[in-house]
Symmetry: D2
Subunit: 245 residues, 4 copies
């Protein structure tokens, strides 16, 4: 009998951590983050709750680093098939007038949002395809988008470039791999997430629930993962009730 696991890239942030915790209720979960300090507390929390978790250090925008992590994962998770791959890596963003931006700002944004997803998808799609016939739910590649995935706002030029590119990749993959049984979806997170980092930012004037609960995002990801193949959602938005849109 096959055993299945899930992998979350960008597991250190609020969303990534919550998604890892949610999927760990059902699967052993692999967490990838740039620093072990980012995933270590989540690994411990999952284990304390009786789940299985494995943390790996990797820079999503660096193919050699990704290669190294996946080689190790393959060994450690031998005998498991991949049921869900979540790409949540994030490079932050430069909010600046265009003429003050450097090409490095663009490279950073594209490097994580576009190139990073490209590497991650090339590593995980063969595994997801391999799980199609046996996985309890359609194997899923879930990607974390943002407002900037669908809107190029002033002074968000490089961030929007990366998130638009990421949406293009996700859409192309959905059209290519959906018919093969892999569920590829994009969640457009339109608002500030209620994380320690988010807490420092004012959102919606501090009104109650004006920031997005990361656990709620995780529930939506789980819902996406459990949709049967006759009823795939490719794109959904998530925002606080008070968010202007």
């Amino acid at each position: 009998m096959s055993k299945f696991y899930a992998i979350v890239a960008g597991a250190g942030s609020g969303t990534g951590a919550s998604v890892a915790l949610r999927f760990a209720k059902t699967y052993p979960v692999v967490l990838l983050a740039r620093k072990s300090a980012n995933y270590e507390p989540i690994v411990q929390e999952i284990r304390a709750a009786g789940g299985s978790a494995y943390g790996y250090t990797a820079d999503a925008s660096d193919p050699a680093s990704v290669d190294g992590a996946f080689a190790q994962i393959e060994k450690d998770l031998q005998g498991h098939k991949l049921a869900a791959a979540v790409y949540n890596a994030n490079a932050g963003f430069a909010y600046k007038p265009f003429l003050e931006l450097k090409v490095e700002d663009l490279d950073t944004s594209l490097g994580t949002a576009a190139n990073g997803l490209f590497y991650f998808a090339q590593k995980t799609l063969p595994q997801l395809l391999d799980a199609v016939s046996s996985s309890p739910h359609p194997p899923s590649l879930l990607v974390t988008g943002a407002t900037a995935s669908i809107r190029g706002s002033a002074k968000f030029t490089t961030f929007a470039a990366g998130k638009f590119a990421q949406r293009a990749i996700t859409q192309s993959l959905a059209r290519e791999f959906g018919p093969q049984g892999v569920h590829v979806a994009l969640a457009i997170i339109d608002g500030v997430i209620d994380t320690p980092w988010g807490k420092e930012r004012t959102a919606n004037n501090g009104v109650a629930d004006g920031k997005i609960a990361a656990e709620a995002i995780a529930e939506s990801y789980w819902h996406l993962h459990t949709q049967p193949r006759s009823a795939f959602t490719h794109e959904l938005d998530i925002r606080p009730y008070v968010e202007k849109f």
Copy 2:
């Protein structure tokens, strides 16, 4: 202590029936359909499963008919607050060259998709607002869209007119009532639903799961309903894995 109920307009179709059955696991459900023969089997099925169900005959496109039904519902459900209102009424569609269409085809499409939603929303939104502070989940107005909600295809002129108008209404209501705590969402159903009617239509060359399982749509509606107010989805698409898009 408050008691809550749900209401499904267009309860006779595959989607409406499945949504009614799903919400009936938690709430008493009111079913509206043009003919009692459409809702009666579902009412029986819900009751047989230990749930509460109430059927009413109404033509969603006729304000007097809607008024009459809601007057009766108010009496029968006295003491209940409205937790979820689902608008799934459907008038079918004319697939014809534009110059063969009659203005009646346009009126039929707009009458159910736009006017019908308008009446339904005017009846249910005051009740949904009244439930905001006590409802277990944010009170929800959920609307069933179609491919034609976002694409005006050749020969679907009047159908697309109705579904575009419906999407506009849903979007405007989300922006007005979201900040007041009511969750307004549109599900864009992009494919043939696996119903007795759907079974007669060829979809995706008869490939397995090439038609949408109505139960899966119902699970997505329930997921929408249970999202907390910090994480509302306004729009999602649902389609079979093999559907071209």
Copy 3:
């Protein structure tokens, strides 16, 4: 040798008047408006400039009224073929909380934006098809949209319903009649137009050129009309440089 004419419905407004004046440089122009006072000054202005213009009173949302006007046009323009039909009829809009709107507000919006375009297109498309092989430019059906064609804002519920429906019709017609040689296009006017009526409205804090010059819209319509069939634009937006979008 064929002679060609243009027709503008909603010729009394700033956009309609400017479009009529622009097209009158090349074609005799038929102006339709609800009141003769609306088109009469434009008819005079066109004639004074050496052009040909014909005014007709019609209510775009009333099929009998449209029938009557077109019967008369057919007589008066005998021997002419239709090169361009512009639908610019506008019913104004209700800006109100949803629960204060009446179904009449919805009917008014749909009646002009959707039904009116439907009648106008059924009258003009057969004529436009008839001109395909001889017209100097591809025969064109041009429609005036608004911000509300693509965005359902709070409190614009009924206006957006009409404009979304209108966009659906325009899109479906483009897909059906484009391959037959008729150019169907939508201009999304995103801003306040600099008309006598517009002058009373504050837009962009009164900054210079913060309102759209109607003559500029007319130039874009003329550009659309003169595009060859190998290079049709279906949709373009027009907004002041300072307009937020």
Copy 4:
């Protein structure tokens, strides 16, 4: 009195050449292309017609190469202000199953579509801003998009990534520089262009005018450039009448 010039990057292709020829009717035109053989015939054609043209070799995706070309342009065009900058550089595309793509395919696509536009915009926007108060038409930054700017099709993953990113940049720049008087616009070219290269490709089964006339695209670019600031178009699509969309 100021003199004005235009610059076209990617001047060797059908679109770039036609745009250069069109703008050369009014302005001296600078042509940039990867090889002098690409722009030389157009430079000669412009000069033969009595216009002014200057060709420079540059690789749009290489910042040092772009720097070098612009340093030379600055010297050669001294005393001129920049009225129009057209970004039409194109790296071709890989049409392949995702798992056969190399990261180099992604880098190539992003390098020209996103990074190249970034460099070009950083070079030209200061000049365009400098021309705002004196230019005969609002200084314009015009970008050539494609179907893949708005749709991530299967097997077009890397091409779509680049064109989505480019659209994001264009949109962000429009929102930042529009209010400063610079017109930033994207033309979404949806079809095969009728060029020597295009001629080899089958399009629309060889039907007459089934490929886009590059001269028609150039007319639309000129129309965009001549729009007054009260009536900017940000995005328009261009496709053959028989193209499916």
